[in-house]
């Protein structure tokens, strides 16, 4: 438990904008997440599409709404500065692919359940956190927090996801730090390549 609290604190303190970002309005961020959720629900409702295509559509929807450069840099931590430009480019491509693939695979198989926004509050110096609840047929709703940042000119992007109050980015940061120590940045890149390169279910 102590570790979880630490991870949260690390996330709140270290995940500061590189430049002075515009203040993120919780109300606008709420609309942004609502719109994104509505679009996802609409895509998932189309059961005529094969699963792989539903997942691909979800991936494209998320791609435009996550700020992968910000997340990827944060997650790589101090190794970012030491990485060569080729390593950075490879890492960012694979990291975003990995995150998109993970979420799309998990979301893509779902039925079109409605989701509800339960709160929208400021977070840190310039962000907002939008908490959503996804109803389940049985058991309590699943809650997730979406950390949203206004990159200027109302360009709203997701920069972190909190599950059970734990920041995904901070969790990945400590995981990747251990890998880079053992196997270097190239080892991390190869690991991400392995994570995104597997085959999914095959027809006969």
């Amino acid at each position: 438990m102590r570790n979880l609290v630490l991870v949260m604190l690390v996330s709140v303190w270290l995940f500061q904008p590189a430049s002075a970002a515009e203040k993120t309005s919780p109300d606008v961020a709420r609309e942004f997440i609502q719109r994104l959720g509505n679009e996802a629900v609409k895509l998932l409702a189309d059961k005529e599409l094969p699963l792989a295509q539903r997942e691909a559509k979800i991936r494209e929807l998320l791609r435009g709404n996550f700020d992968f450069r910000t997340i990827g840099r944060f997650v790589l931590g101090k190794s970012w500065r030491r990485a060569t430009s080729d390593q950075r480019a490879d890492y960012l491509t694979l990291f975003s692919e990995f995150v998109l693939r993970t979420y799309a695979r998990r979301i893509g198989g779902y039925a079109n359940d409605a989701f509800k926004i339960t709160s929208a509050t400021p977070l840190g110096r310039s962000d907002a956190i939008i908490v959503t609840a996804i109803a389940q047929p049985v058991g309590p709703a699943i809650r997730a927090g979406w950390r949203v940042r206004n990159n200027g000119g109302n360009d709203y992007k997701i920069i972190d996801v909190m599950v059970e109050k734990v920041s995904m980015a901070a969790t990945q940061r400590s995981e990747y730090d251990a890998i880079v120590r053992q196997r270097g940045v190239d080892g991390l890149i190869e690991l991400l390549r392995a994570k995104v390169g597997s085959y999914s279910a095959q027809p006969s």
């Binding site: 992968f68 998990r106 198989g109 058991g139 699943i142 599950v163 080892g187």
Partner: protein, 292 residues
């Protein structure tokens, strides 16, 4: 990475979503197209599992595939492995995934061999081991699986589980690129550009960047755009450059934005509109290597 949706998977899978109507429509379509065949035994079960899987009814897919897998059907074994690996309809269990994939791989299933190789590379479900990773990837690569050929090539680049060797790396990447795998084509473009394990050749580099770009590879699109500006191995065309920058940005390559704006400022509004229209109409002509 855990997801906010972790817990609802099993419940969701337990619900059959208007499957009957869906299946009836598919059956009718098959009759109309004259492609129905009497389905008996394992084929029928496998296909029913596949239909259920596509509809997101993972529990039913599992129930169709499990008996086949137990009887030794390698495709069913592979797919059940995937369900455990991705946690689809089942609690995610990577070591069970490896168990099922091993059964399929021992029967020579190349996708299963590939996935086991990657699991050893990443250390998911097994203890991380580069030697094992290389050994499994090689089995699949020898069966002409393009992704495995590419992954094996990269192992030679980094010297993971094998002696570093850019020449052998280039040989495997070339095989994968020729088979149409977009990442290998992009990588091969860079090899020809830099002379990495292969003689430098700017024109050939451009051709491989173009092949990957045509499949929607965003970084290859950015490289191709830059080449249209510099005339490296290609005839200069700022309009083409502008179009490929637009596509690269659309594909998630935000770093192309500055270059796009710079080129845009040099173009007439007519040229810009033309390039924007071309980008709008553009569709990847091929999707080889993008599946799964």
């Amino acid at each position: 990475m855990p997801s906010p949706y972790d817990n609802c998977r099993r419940r969701r899978a337990a619900r059959s979503i208007s499957m009957a109507g869906h299946m009836a429509a598919i059956a009718m379509l098959a009759v109309l197209l004259g492609i129905t065949q009497p389905k008996t035994g394992s084929a029928a079960d496998f296909d029913a599992g596949w239909q259920a899987y596509q509809a997101g009814d993972f529990l039913r897919a599992f129930n169709e595939w499990q008996p086949l897998a137990d009887k030794g059907d390698k495709r069913a074994q592979f797919n059940i492995g995937v369900m455990y690996d991705e946690g689809k309809g089942l609690r995610q269990d990577r070591s069970k995934a490896i168990g099922w994939w091993t059964k399929a791989a021992d029967q020579g299933d190349p996708e299963a061999q590939h996935n086991i190789g990657l699991a050893y590379l990443a250390g998911t479900g097994v203890r991380q081991n580069y030697d094992e990773a290389v050994s499994w990837l090689r089995k699949a690569a020898d069966q002409d699986l393009a992704r495995s050929q590419y992954a094996l090539g990269r192992m030679y680049d980094y010297g993971f589980g094998v002696e570093k060797d850019p020449d052998i790396a280039a040989k495997w990447v070339l095989k994968a690129a020729e088979a149409g795998f977009d990442k290998a084509q992009y990588n091969l473009g860079k090899r020809y550009r830099d002379g990495l394990g292969i003689p430098k050749d700017s024109q050939v580099a451009t051709q491989w960047f173009r092949k990957a770009a045509n499949q929607g590879h965003a970084r290859a699109q950015q490289h191709l755009a830059t080449r249209y500006l510099t005339g490296d191995g290609i005839e200069k065309s700022p309009t083409q450059a502008y179009m490929w920058f637009i596509l690269a940005i659309r594909g998630g390559n935000k770093s192309a934005q500055k270059e796009k704006d710079a080129v845009g400022a040099e173009l007439t509004s007519e040229q810009r509109l033309k390039a924007e229209q071309m980008a709008k109409d553009w569709r990847p002509p091929s999707t080889i290597g993008k599946s799964g």
